[in-house]
Symmetry: C2
Subunit: 402 residues, 2 copies
């Protein structure tokens, strides 16, 4: 096969296969974003018509300024900025709010980038334990805030919770958690890496002081991209402009925002995000149907005897963690290809994206697959089960993980 | 004209025009990078074969791991990481080295992103004044270090100097400055935003502790991209891995680097950078010819009576600042289109990228233009001068800015 720059294989996974990879699904580019990559590939292509005051979010050709307003409005927040990935959104907030030794409340299912953003700012993460359903509740958050205050003598400076976590994509009670945070006068960061761009997110209704989303995870945008939105109250802090004056030259760059380090996303990354946005804004209205497809697939997997779903069930998200220790893994144990037998079977039938070799606990995502494809995926898993003489209980009661 | 997503004009500036824009020149994508954008547009496309230990710079398919080694070797440094723009490289270093109130030595021509990176870390920039040729010297740097030490009672914690500055693209004496910094045991950050990817950069020879480059500015890579390279000594600090342990879950993410916030560039941004790299690595060897073309163009502009070059001359870089107050601006004053007459004249002859409307002091860049195009640009400027009855002294002594 021809290679790019003689060393890089041409990737055609999305064109050739049905892809159930857990984090790739909602980041797949739209055709409009692909056009944007071609037309705006050069990094400074966004800057052709950059005029005073020389800041990315003020550029009107291409329509970057209106896009920023639309982004804020989409999330029902006051102000939005694009950032190089959700993690850089966390960083802007922690760098603003967290001083050395401060505590930050996160979920026991917090993504590692939240850990890093807190550590980078000199803070200490304090995890809220999960309840028996692997859910972060408002009560548990309140208890944790109390415990941290007692232990450290100081209130935590930030509560940041994932609406749907990266492990199980369970839904956590962000609205009640925001309320609890505010009872302690602690700002609340809503981590929408798995929601912004796939389902409706109403920041003000949730009570979020900050909403962070991921472009390449859930907004059909190139990487690294993301959004950080906030309220007017917090905008003046997290988007504060530079106060530095050159001691010799007396230079000032007063329009530049410190935490953004000036302009953030340029070229195809930003224009790709913008090009997908009309589609993204519309598609969140079809979330319920996406969830139906997710449940259809999970039900199809549960019908294979011994299968379990580790995520909460029924599913409220398209990302799910399943446990096939009781069926496919038993096959794997006696198969010369071990766990790879399942990958082989799937890929030979046009399905990729499960973690190759994994037949115990693994994740998958149905986002954006048509009903036809979801049905095909279910049929394929059940056909493979049949082939290896696993029982498929098409009408049986579903086995739900406890 | 058809628009992308009904709102974004298709950009064809590089295809349709000769572009002399000051910062776009060396960021223009190679054809290989354009292929990469098409094949790797999806953000997580780089992650298809991500295996333990699950870190971007360890992925071997596509060949991201070897690319990191090649990058380090290209700069003659020990370790390199890709970052979302040079500014994020500065930030990683300042966030590691600079505590609240610490001083950082920068040039009086430092880019604003250096100011912001220092401010974001809580530090204070201290500018080294320029000499009469608008050059930062080692002596001036030593004096500044002494003055800051006396004033604050503490040595600065970092010296960061641009090899070629963004204003004039004058060359500053980085090697001697590094030596001075080391005499005070202060680490030296070499800002290669205008060098890495266009001319050879030998970090160890310069004595750099950190080398920062910009992908979208000088490495024919998509935005936001850049490189931060360092020595083994400093790598353990700036690329330190997370020490955080979840207080409830006892989770550790020990392979993740705090300042990188884990993985940095994904998808087409990184693969585009990689796809251009073989070309970039080779093209730095032709820098002298690029500089010749730069001087040819400047000489051609100086031949128009009243023209001056504000940058050092002869040019050592392809980016230059010129002053046409003495010729084109005089025309502009009596022209109904004012300064835009020059943009009109140029664009009607197929040249774009000067700051539209500017006829006094403005910047241009010849990087990557063929000799044929450079000659055409000179002829065009002189033809326009002829048309407006400005004197063109083709054989006259050049007028150099004092």
């Amino acid at each position: 096969m021809r290679k790019i720059a003689d060393s890089i294989d041409i990737r055609s996974r999305e064109e050739t296969y049905i892809n159930i990879q857990p984090i790739q699904a909602a980041g797949r580019l739209t055709p409009e974003a692909r056009k944007a990559l071609i037309a705006y590939g050069d990094g400074y292509s966004t800057c052709d018509a950059c005029r005073k005051p020389f800041r990315l979010d003020k550029i009107s050709t291409p329509p970057i300024a209106p896009f920023h307003e639309q982004l804020a409005s989409f999330l029902n927040m006051d102000v939005a900025r694009v950032v190089p990935g959700a993690r850089r959104g966390f960083q802007a907030v922690t760098s603003t709010l967290v001083n050395k030794g401060d505590s930050v409340i996160v979920s026991a299912l917090a993504h590692y980038t939240e850990f890093l953003a807190v550590e980078e700012a000199g803070g200490i993460v304090k995890e809220v334990p999960l309840n028996e359903h692997k859910i972060v509740t408002a009560d548990a958050t309140a208890e944790k805030i109390e415990a941290v205050s007692q232990e450290t003598g100081k209130l935590p400076v930030l509560v940041m919770i994932d609406h749907f976590d990266y492990q199980f994509a369970n839904e956590h009670d962000v609205k009640s958690i925001a309320k609890v945070a505010h009872q302690y006068d602690i700002p609340f960061l809503y981590n929408g890496a798995y929601t912004v761009g796939v389902r409706p997110v109403n920041g003000k209704d949730i009570g979020a002081d900050f909403v962070v989303g991921s472009g390449h995870k859930s907004m059909a945008a190139p990487a690294p991209s993301g959004v950080l939105a906030t309220t007017d109250e917090w905008a003046s802090k997290v988007f504060r402009t530079t106060q530095t004056v050159g001691d010799v030259t007396k230079r000032k760059f007063g329009i530049k925002e410190v935490e953004m380090l000036g302009c953030t996303l340029m070229g195809s990354t930003l224009i790709g995000m913008m090009a997908s946005f009309p589609t993204v804004r519309e598609r969140v209205n079809h979330w319920e149907d996406e969830v139906k497809k997710s449940n259809y697939l999970i039900d199809g997997l549960l019908a294979i005897e011994g299968g379990r779903v580790v995520s909460e069930y029924p599913r409220k998200h398209t990302l799910s963690k399943v446990d096939t220790s009781g069926n496919f893994d038993k096959v794997a144990q006696n198969h010369k290809r071990k766990g790879f037998f399942l990958s082989d079977e799937l890929s030979s039938r046009g399905i990729v994206g499960e973690f190759a070799g994994a037949t115990r606990v693994w994740k998958l995502n149905t986002y954006g697959l048509s009903w036809e494809k979801v049905r095909y995926v279910v049929d394929t898993f059940q056909d493979i089960a049949d082939k290896y003489e696993l029982q498929v209980n098409k009408e049986t009661e579903l086995q739900v993980n406890k």
